[in-house]
Every structure is written in structure tokens, then in C-alpha cells.
């Protein structure tokens, strides 16, 4: 009894602030704004209107996650295996910066950086790398991927670098003695040992990116676009919470898939 009393405030909090709104949005997705009979009309409408956007969202987020994984391993790998002390120090100091910049600021930053006549192309043309006429705008799906990768890589790299720092150095030294290249040591010896941490970092990034509104809204003006934009649009423009919630449920499902992996992994770790 005492235990229940102790846990009650926390449970109530979760109930009111998470379970209730979550349940409400599920109910609203299957009815007309929380009332009326049950149906799946909101879902058929969501698919009919936004099938391309659904696909686009999955592709963008998955692609970004993959690139983030590669870059994070590269950065953390250099921090662990790099031999040039100055380079490691500079990298260590530099790589975390985007962590402290909010998504909306990143998006605005990229808007001026990646535009057709933006900073990146100006630098490239003035240094003679590309012809002025060849400059093109990256403010489309590529812009979203670049922003996501720029913003989320430090987060994963931070986790991975921590994990790499704590692995047993003797395995690395053994690899060296047998003459393995540093790249080979990274891929064959280091990464397998930190795979769990890497996966957790990537899953968390995936979930975060799936929920970002500002980046697709500000960078990608074209269609298709990401589901968050569609949800905001359904509500602001039509006051249509039903379809917005249906799209929300689809997002839950996408995160649900990776959450399942995450839970399975953490159960395994506990069991081991």
C-alpha cells in the first residue's frame, strides 16, 4: 500500500501528461475528433493524400540515420585511434558544437548556407571549384538530410566516442601488433564492441528526426515533404485533428518498429 502511495504522484503525472493525450489522439484518429462511430476514414484519407510524404519521410530519416552512423563512427574512431594529438584535440573541441544549436536555428543557418546563391556556393564559385552557372540550390530533400546529419552526428559521436574510450585497449594493440591498418581495426575490432551504444544512439536520433517540424518546413518547400509538416497543415488549415492524428499514429508505428529493437536490445543486455 505504502509503495503505491509513493509511486502515485509519478503515475498520475504520466497518466495525465502522457497516457491520456496519447490515448485521446489514438481515439481521435479512429473517430471524428474523439466522438462518433469508429472508422478508418482518417487513415484512408491520410494515405490518399500523403502516400508520397509517408514514403519520403521514411526514406529521409533512414538515409540520415545511416549517414549519421558512418560519420559518428568516423569521428569517434579518429578520436580513439588518431595519432596526431593536435588534430584529435581540435576535433574533440569542434565536433560537439552543433549539439548546442536548436533545430530551428540549424534550419535557418542551412537556409542561408545551402541556397543557390548562398554561402556554400559563393565559396565554391569564388575559389573556382564550380562555375557560377553550375551552382544549384540544396534546399530540397538534400538540405533536410544535410541539416539532420549536421545536427545529430555530434550526439551519436559523443555516445560512441565515450563507448570507444572505455573498451579494452589491448584488443586494439593486438590488432596493431599483427599489422592491421587503423581502418581495419576500427571496423573489425572497435565497432563490434560498441555496436550496442551505436545502435541506441542511432535509434534515438531516428526518433528525434521523425518529430522535427522546423527543418522540413523551412528547408524543403517542395512536395513531397515530411509528415510533421502535413500534421501541422491539417490542424492549422482545416482544423482537422482526425487526419493529423492518423498521420501521428503512423509516426508512432515507425518509431514503434525501432523502439522494439531498442527494448529487445536492452533486455538482452540485462539478461547477459
Amino acid at each position: 500500500m505504502g509503495a503505491i502511495l509513493l509511486v502515485a504522484p509519478a503515475l498520475l503525472m504520466i497518466g495525465f501528461l502522457f497516457v491520456y493525450p496519447f490515448g485521446y489522439s489514438v481515439v481521435s484518429a479512429f473517430t471524428d475528433n474523439g466522438e462518433g462511430s469508429w472508422h478508418i476514414a482518417n487513415f484512408t484519407k491520410a494515405v490518399e493524400f500523403y502516400s508520397k510524404d509517408i514514403l519520403f519521410t521514411i526514406v529521409i530519416v533512414s538515409l540520415s540515420t545511416a549517414i549519421i552512423g558512418i560519420l559518428a563512427v568516423a569521428i569517434a574512431g579518429y578520436l580513439t585511434l588518431g595519432e596526431n594529438k593536435t588534430a584529435v584535440a581540435i576535433l574533440k573541441w569542434l565536433y560537439r558544437w552543433p549539439l548546442f544549436i536548436p533545430f530551428i536555428v540549424s534550419a535557418q543557418l542551412m537556409r542561408t548556407f545551402l541556397a543557390k546563391n548562398g554561402m556554400m556556393n559563393n565559396i565554391l564559385t569564388s575559389s573556382g571549384i564550380i562555375e557560377p552557372l553550375a551552382a544549384q540550390s540544396y534546399l530540397d530533400w538534400r538540405g533536410i538530410v544535410i541539416t539532420f546529419v549536421w545536427k545529430q552526428t555530434p550526439f551519436v559521436a559523443l555516445l560512441v566516442a565515450g563507448a570507444m574510450a572505455s573498451i579494452d585497449r589491448t584488443t586494439i594493440d593486438a590488432g596493431r601488433i599483427f599489422g592491421a591498418s587503423r581502418l581495419r581495426i576500427l571496423i573489425e575490432l572497435v565497432v563490434p564492441q560498441i555496436a550496442t551504444t551505436l545502435m541506441v544512439g542511432l535509434i534515438l536520433s531516428y526518433v528525434v528526426m521523425l518529430s522535427v517540424l522546423s527543418v522540413p518546413l523551412m528547408i524543403n518547400a517542395q512536395s513531397p515533404t515530411m509528415l510533421t509538416v502535413d500534421m501541422a497543415w491539417r490542424i492549422n488549415s482545416y482544423g482537422d485533428y482526425g487526419v493529423a492524428n492518423a498521420l501521428g499514429i503512423m509516426s508512432y508505428l515507425f518509431t514503434g518498429v525501432v523502439a522494439w529493437f531498442y527494448l529487445r536490445q536492452s533486455l538482452k543486455d540485462k539478461g547477459a
Partner: protein, 382 residues
């Protein structure tokens, strides 16, 4: 507000309360939807002007935020006071967006006042009578009109298209040089699409004033198919400001924008001074903001005086046209006399008052508006 000003305010308030009988100061409550600039307009300009003219009156202004959402809050507050059966409501003047003002009128929350004020005769535009399909004649005074038009760079486009037809030909000739923000990234894009539908969906009059017929949207397939083909040759911009940004950087040479935003940016030097505007035929939509007074406002007469002052030619000239680059709420001819020739010519050179009268269209009535946007999503962008 700094602590000091709060303290001074409190002290002077206390002094006034002690030295004057309580009834000497009447408070006029103004509530405004729209962005911060709308609140500041009343606090910094209109309020002091009114207080000067009517000593003993204090204007108090509250802002509820931009878009229909802000005006929805006003509606809900009035509705609550009405439902509670209060005899006197605590809001005297409202400033609200078009769609919600229409809804308030339909719900019986507004007073019929235009006949009582001098400036009521100075407005003849259709938006003074019709708010997206709701008859509001007598119940509203337009505060200003904002209008969309095509901004272009005359150095690169010496002969801009005169109509949607010509624009279609133009984008074929100069692909990717025309930019707009689709429909999810701001109202100027929505306005452009609406103008397209007025041109090609047939029967623009019905779209603008009803009656609504749900079957009508089935006949729009060709208009959407053409728009889809048109979109192949345009650049999409990230928002109203995004279109101006891209014009500024020379990434596009033409695109639909809000006229007031265009001139404000030009005034701030954020876009080149040589850019110009063109209102293409048969027209593009714009929208007014309204002044109105609740059905049971506590200070009904004072509220009418306030709206009368706010819509008087002098205030419209200085406050609306000069400060904000908005088109006046009352007919432009009444405003012209009070305006500096330079300001007048700035606002009306590219788009003449006659053009504005002919090609300045309202947005469609609510249900058609939703149909147009949904049709675009389904048939053009998905």
C-alpha cells in the same frame, strides 16, 4: 516593460485613484488578433490618439496572436460571456481576421454599428459586406486590406505577364525563374493557387460568394492537371519571406508576395529598390482585417467613436498606409487627400486603385476554400 515603468505606473495609478473619483476614468477594452505589430499599432499610435481626443478614457489593448487561431480566441471569449448570460461584456472593440469575424457575426456576437459612424459611408468594397460568404454589412469596418501580387525584377523582366495565361507561357520560356511557396508554406502561395482556380476552375463568382455545392470540386480536374504541369517549371520557395529572400538573391525573378510585406522589406533595404509589383488578370486574392464591436459591449458609444477615429481618412493615411504599407480599409480616394504624394505614389504606382478594385479578389467561401486546398494536395502535390 521595465520594473521602473511598472512602479511608476503603479504609483501614478494610485495617485489618480486617490485624487479622482473612480468614475472619471473609463476604460475602453480593445482586443486584437494578429501579430505583435497589431498590438503595438493600438498601444503606440491609435490608443494615445484616442485618449488625447477623449480625455478621461484609457485604452487598454490585449493581443491574442496571429492567424485564425488568434481570432478564434476572441470568438471563444465572446461566446463564453454570451453563454453566461452577462448583460455587459468586457470587450469593447475587436480587431479580427476575416473568416472568424464572419463566424462571430453568424453567432450573433457582434453589433450592427456601421450606420452610426461617419466613416461608415466611406467604404464600398465587397469585403465590407461579405466575409468569405457571410453577410457582414453594417457589422464590420475594414481596418486595412492586404493584397497579394506578383513581385518581379524589371531589369530582367521588362514585360511581365499581364495574366495567368501569359504567366503560363512565360514559365515555359523561362523555366524555374518563377517561384512560389506552394500551399503549405504561407498564404501568398495559397493566394496564387486560389487565383489560378478563379481563372481556370470556372465560375469564380460562386467560389467567392456561394452557394456551396459539394459536387463542384469534381469539375476541377483539368485546372489541377494544368497547375501540376505549370509546377514543373517553377521553383518552390520556403514561405512568404522565402519568396522575397530568393528574389533578393536573384534565384528567381518573379513570385507572388504580400504587398505590405514587399514594401516594408523594400523600405528596410532587404530587397532591391528596383523590384516592382504586378497584379495579374483576372486577379489575385487579398484579405481585410476588421474592426467590430461586440453585441453587448459595455462602452458601446465609445467603441463606435474609436472605430470612427481608426477608420478616418487621416488615421488611415498615417497609420495604415504610411506606417504599415497596407491598403486602406476605407476607399482609397478618401485617403488620398491626407497622404504625402510620395507615400501615395509608392503604394499605388505598381497597382493602381482601379486595378485594385478590378483585380483585388476575396478568398473563396470557407467550404470551397477547403476544397481547393485539399484538391491541390491530392491532385497536384501527391
Amino acid at each position: 516593460m521595465t520594473l521602473k515603468s511598472v512602479l511608476t505606473g503603479a504609483i501614478s495609478g494610485a495617485v489618480i485613484a486617490v485624487s479622482m473619483p473612480a468614475s472619471a476614468e473609463t476604460q475602453l477594452n480593445v482586443i486584437t488578433g494578429g501579430s505583435q505589430n497589431m498590438v503595438e499599432y493600438v498601444t503606440d499610435y491609435l490608443g494615445p490618439l484616442f485618449e488625447e481626443k477623449y480625455p478621461g478614457v484609457k485604452v487598454r489593448v490585449t493581443g491574442t496572436g496571429p492567424g485564425d487561431a488568434g481570432s478564434q480566441k476572441i470568438l471563444e471569449k465572446l461566446e463564453a460571456q454570451s453563454a453566461a448570460g452577462k448583460e455587459q461584456w468586457d470587450i469593447d472593440v475587436i480587431v479580427a481576421a476575416q473568416k472568424k469575424t464572419g463566424e462571430m457575426k453568424e453567432m450573433g456576437l457582434l453589433a450592427d454599428f456601421r450606420g452610426n459612424i461617419e466613416t461608415g459611408k466611406m467604404v464600398t468594397r465587397e469585403t465590407a459586406e461579405n466575409a468569405l460568404g457571410v453577410y457582414v454589412g453594417g457589422y464590420v469596418m475594414p481596418m486595412f486590406h492586404s493584397q497579394t501580387a506578383i513581385a518581379y525584377n524589371p531589369a530582367l523582366v521588362p514585360n511581365p505577364p499581364e495574366s495567368y495565361d501569359e504567366l503560363r507561357e512565360w514559365v515555359k520560356k523561362y523555366p524555374k525563374q518563377f517561384g512560389y511557396n506552394g500551399i503549405k508554406n504561407g498564404m501568398s502561395g495559397v493566394a496564387f493557387v486560389t487565383g489560378w482556380m478563379y481563372t481556370y476552375a470556372g465560375d469564380a463568382k460562386t467560389l467567392q460568394s456561394g452557394p456551396y455545392d459539394a459536387a463542384k470540386k469534381e469539375t476541377w480536374a483539368q485546372a489541377y492537371a494544368d497547375l501540376k504541369a505549370f509546377n514543373e517549371n517553377v521553383t518552390f520557395t520556403p514561405g512568404n519571406a522565402g519568396t522575397l529572400d530568393m528574389l533578393n538573391r536573384g534565384e528567381i525573378v518573379m513570385g507572388p508576395v504580400w504587398v505590405d510585406m514587399f514594401y516594408s522589406w523594400q523600405g528596410d533595404g532587404r530587397i532591391p529598390p528596383n523590384l516592382k509589383l504586378k497584379l495579374i488578370a483576372p486577379g489575385m486574392p487579398g484579405q481585410p482585417y476588421y474592426y467590430a464591436t461586440p453585441a453587448k459591449a459595455a462602452n458601446k458609444e465609445l467603441a463606435e467613436k474609436f472605430i470612427e477615429l481608426a477608420t478616418s481618412p487621416a488615421v488611415q493615411a498615417e497609420g495604415i498606409v504610411n506606417r504599415f504599407n497596407w491598403y486602406p480599409g476605407i476607399d482609397a480616394d478618401h485617403v488620398k487627400a491626407s497622404l504625402d504624394e510620395k507615400v501615395w505614389s509608392k503604394l499605388f504606382t505598381d497597382v493602381t486603385p482601379l486595378e485594385l478594385a478590378q483585380k483585388g479578389k476575396p478568398f473563396p467561401i470557407g467550404p470551397y476554400f477547403d476544397d481547393i486546398k485539399e484538391g491541390y494536395e491530392k491532385q497536384v502535390s501527391n
